[in-house]
C-alpha cells in the first residue's frame, strides 16, 4: 500500500465519522457506557487485588521452638525448615524479642506484661514466609512434623477463609468484566453494521470498479479504531477525575491502616492505557465483523 493510499484511507475514515454523525455518536456512546462500567470494575478489582496481595504477604508462620532445644538443635531445625520447598525466608526471633513485640502490640495495657521480663514464659520463634502465600498452609503442616517444634501458628482457619474469599472475589470480577466486554462488542458491531448498511452502495461501487477487499476494509477498520478511542476518552477522563478526588479524600480523612488505595500514578495511567486499548479493540472488532458480510462475492 502506498503512503498516498494510506492517507486516503485515514482521510476517508475521518470524513465518514462526520458524515454519519449520529451513528458515530451512537457507536462511541456504546463504547463509552461499556468502558465506564468496565473501568469502574477495573478500579475496584485492582484495589481488591492490591489489598489481597498485601494481606497475603503479611501471612507468616510462627514456629514455636521447644524450650528444651539447645542451639545446635535449633540450627538443625532451621536447616530443615529451609529445606522445605517454597520457603522464602526464615527469621529467628528470641523469646525476649517476642515479649517486647507482645508488650508493644498491647499498647497501654502492655506494661502489665513487663512483670514477665524476669521470668519469660514465651518460647523462641522462627518466623517463616512462603514464596507463594497460597503454600502457607502446606508448609505449616510439614513444619509441625519436625522435631523440637512446640507449636505452629499461622492464623489457622482465618487464613484459609481469607484465601477462599479473595479467590471468589477475583473470579467474580473477571467474569463480570468479560461479560461486559462481550455485550459491548455486540452493541458496537450492531451500530457499525447500520452505518455500513447505509453505505453498501459505496461498497458495491468500489467492488464494481475493482477495489480489493483489503482496500475496502481499511477505512472501516480505521473508523472502528477512531470510534473505539473516541468512546474511551470520556470514561478515561471521568474515572481519572473521580479517582483522583476519592484518593485525596481517602488519604487525608479516612486512611485505614490495613487498607490503602493504589496511588493515582502510575495506576490511573495504566488503566487509561488499558481502556484505550480495549476501546480500540472492540471498535475494530465490531467494524471488521460487520463489513465482512458485505465483502462476500
Amino acid at each position: 500500500m502506498t503512503l498516498h493510499t494510506f492517507k486516503r484511507h485515514v482521510r476517508e475514515s475521518i470524513k465518514s465519522l462526520g458524515r454519519n454523525g449520529w451513528m458515530t455518536f451512537a457507536s462511541a456512546s456504546a463504547v463509552t457506557v461499556t468502558l465506564l462500567l468496565v473501568g469502574v470494575f477495573f478500579v475496584v478489582m485492582f484495589n481488591i487485588n492490591h489489598f489481597a496481595q498485601k494481606v497475603e504477604n503479611d501471612v507468616e508462620i510462627r514456629v514455636h521452638i521447644e524450650l528444651t532445644a539447645d542451639s545446635r538443635q535449633k540450627d538443625a531445625l532451621r536447616r530443615q525448615i529451609e529445606a522445605i520447598p517454597n520457603v522464602k525466608e526464615v527469621r529467628y526471633s528470641s523469646k525476649d524479642e517476642e515479649l517486647k513485640r507482645l508488650i508493644k502490640s498491647m499498647g497501654e495495657e502492655g506494661s502489665s506484661f513487663r512483670l514477665f521480663e524476669q521470668d519469660n514464659p514465651l518460647s523462641d520463634v522462627y518466623v517463616v514466609k512462603a514464596a507463594r502465600p497460597q503454600d502457607t498452609v502446606k508448609i505449616a503442616k510439614q513444619i509441625e512434623t519436625l522435631p523440637f517444634v512446640h507449636k505452629v501458628n499461622y492464623g489457622q482457619g482465618t487464613v484459609e477463609k481469607l484465601f477462599d474469599a479473595l479467590k471468589v472475589a477475583r473470579n467474580v470480577g473477571l467474569v463480570l468484566i468479560l461479560g461486559l466486554l462481550f455485550t459491548a462488542m455486540f452493541l458496537i458491531s450492531n451500530t457499525i453494521k447500520i452505518t455500513i448498511f447505509a453505505r453498501r452502495r459505496e461498497i458495491e461501487i468500489m467492488r464494481l470498479v475493482g477495489a480489493t477487499n483489503g482496500f475496502i476494509r481499511w477505512p472501516f477498520f480505521l473508523e472502528g479504531l477512531w470510534l473505539g478511542m473516541l468512546g474511551a476518552l470520556f470514561p478515561i477522563a471521568a474515572l481519572s477525575i473521580v479517582y483522583y478526588n476519592v484518593y485525596q479524600v481517602y488519604e487525608q480523612w479516612v486512611s485505614l491502616p490495613f487498607f490503602e488505595l493504589l496511588p493515582f500514578s502510575p495506576f490511573m495511567w495504566q488503566l487509561s492505557g488499558l481502556l484505550l486499548v480495549i476501546g480500540a479493540g472492540i471498535g475494530i472488532w465490531g467494524s471488521v465483523m460487520s463489513v465482512r458480510k458485505f465483502l462476500k462475492v
Binding site: 498516498h4 461501487i205 468500489m206 464494481l208 470498479v209 475493482g210
Partner: protein, 231 residues
C-alpha cells in the same frame, strides 16, 4: 474477447436463468442483448463481469476462465471491464470529478495520473464544464455520462451496459448511444442489454436475443424483433 461455452445457471431458489449458452464476442464488436424481461438477459450480462458464477460451463474473458476465477482475483478482472447501469450508481456525496476519480483511487493510481485521465474522459463525454457539480444537480443523461466516464477511465477492453438508457427520454438516449459508438470506435468492445427498439433498429449492430435462458437469435446486423419497446 468474450466466449461462453455450454453455460448453465440455476439460482439456489431453483430458477433456471441460463439454459445452455454458447456465444463468441470478438474484440471491438458492438453487441445488443435483447429479450423479454426475466428471460436471462441480466444473468447473461452479470456472468461477464463475474457478478454471478455459472453453475456449469466455461466463460472466457480476455483469456481468463471466469468459472474458475478465484474470488480474490475478481477485483483484477473488474479493472479491465467497465460496467454501466440503468440507475447510474454514482456516489451522491462526491462531485463529478470525484466520482470518476474514485475508480482510479481504488486501484491506487497516482494523483497526477488520476487528474490527467479523469480530465480526458470528462472531455470525451462532454462534461468538462461540470466537474464540480454533484449528481443531484445533473440531468439523468448527464449522470449517465458521468457513470460512463467512470467505466472507461481505466481504459478497459470491454464495457458492459445493463439497460443504460432505461431511465432516459428518447433524445437523451440517443446521446448516450452515440457516446457508446464513439467509445466503440476506439476499439473497445461494447455489450449492451436494452429494451430500446428504435435505437437497435436504427443502428443495425449485432443483436443477440435471449428467451428462456437460451440464445434464440444472433444476427450480424439485426433488428430488435419484438413489437413493443417494453416486453
Amino acid at each position: 474477447m468474450i466466449e461462453m461455452q455450454d453455460v448453465y445457471k440455476t439460482y439456489p431458489n431453483g430458477v433456471v436463468a441460463l439454459n445452455g449458452i454458447n456465444v463468441r464476442i470478438k474484440q471491438g464488436e458492438f453487441v445488443y442483448v435483447v429479450g423479454p424481461s426475466g428471460a436471462g438477459k441480466s444473468t447473461f450480462i452479470k456472468m461477464m463481469y463475474r457478478e454471478e458464477k455459472p453453475t456449469s460451463g466455461t466463460i472466457m474473458v480476455n483469456g481468463v476462465n471466469l468459472a474458475k476465477l478465484k474470488d480474490s482475483k475478481v477485483p483484477l478482472l473488474r479493472r479491465h471491464i467497465g460496467v454501466v447501469f440503468q440507475d447510474f450508481k454514482l456516489l451522491p456525496k462526491l462531485n463529478v470529478y470525484e466520482n470518476v476519480a474514485f475508480a482510479l483511487e481504488v486501484i491506487e493510481e497516482s494523483p497526477k495520473v488520476i487528474r490527467k485521465k479523469v480530465m480526458e474522459v470528462l472531455d470525451l463525454v462532454g462534461l468538462k464544464h461540470k466537474i464540480r457539480s454533484y449528481p443531484n444537480e445533473l440531468s439523468g443523461g448527464e449522470q449517465q455520462r458521468v457513470s460512463i466516464a467512470r467505466s472507461i477511465v481505466n481504459s478497459p477492453k470491454i464495457v458492459i451496459a445493463d439497460e443504460p438508457t432505461g431511465n432516459l427520454d428518447p433524445e437523451t438516449s440517443w446521446g448516450i448511444v452515440e457516446l457508446f459508438e464513439k467509445i466503440n470506435d476506439r476499439g473497445t468492445t461494447i455489450v449492451m442489454a436494452t429494451h430500446n427498439k428504435e435505437i437497435v433498429n436504427a443502428t443495425r449492430r449485432r443483436v443477440i436475443a435471449i428467451e428462456n435462458g437460451k440464445i434464440v437469435r444472433d444476427e450480424a446486423k439485426g433488428e430488435y424483433g419484438y413489437d413493443a419497446s417494453y416486453v
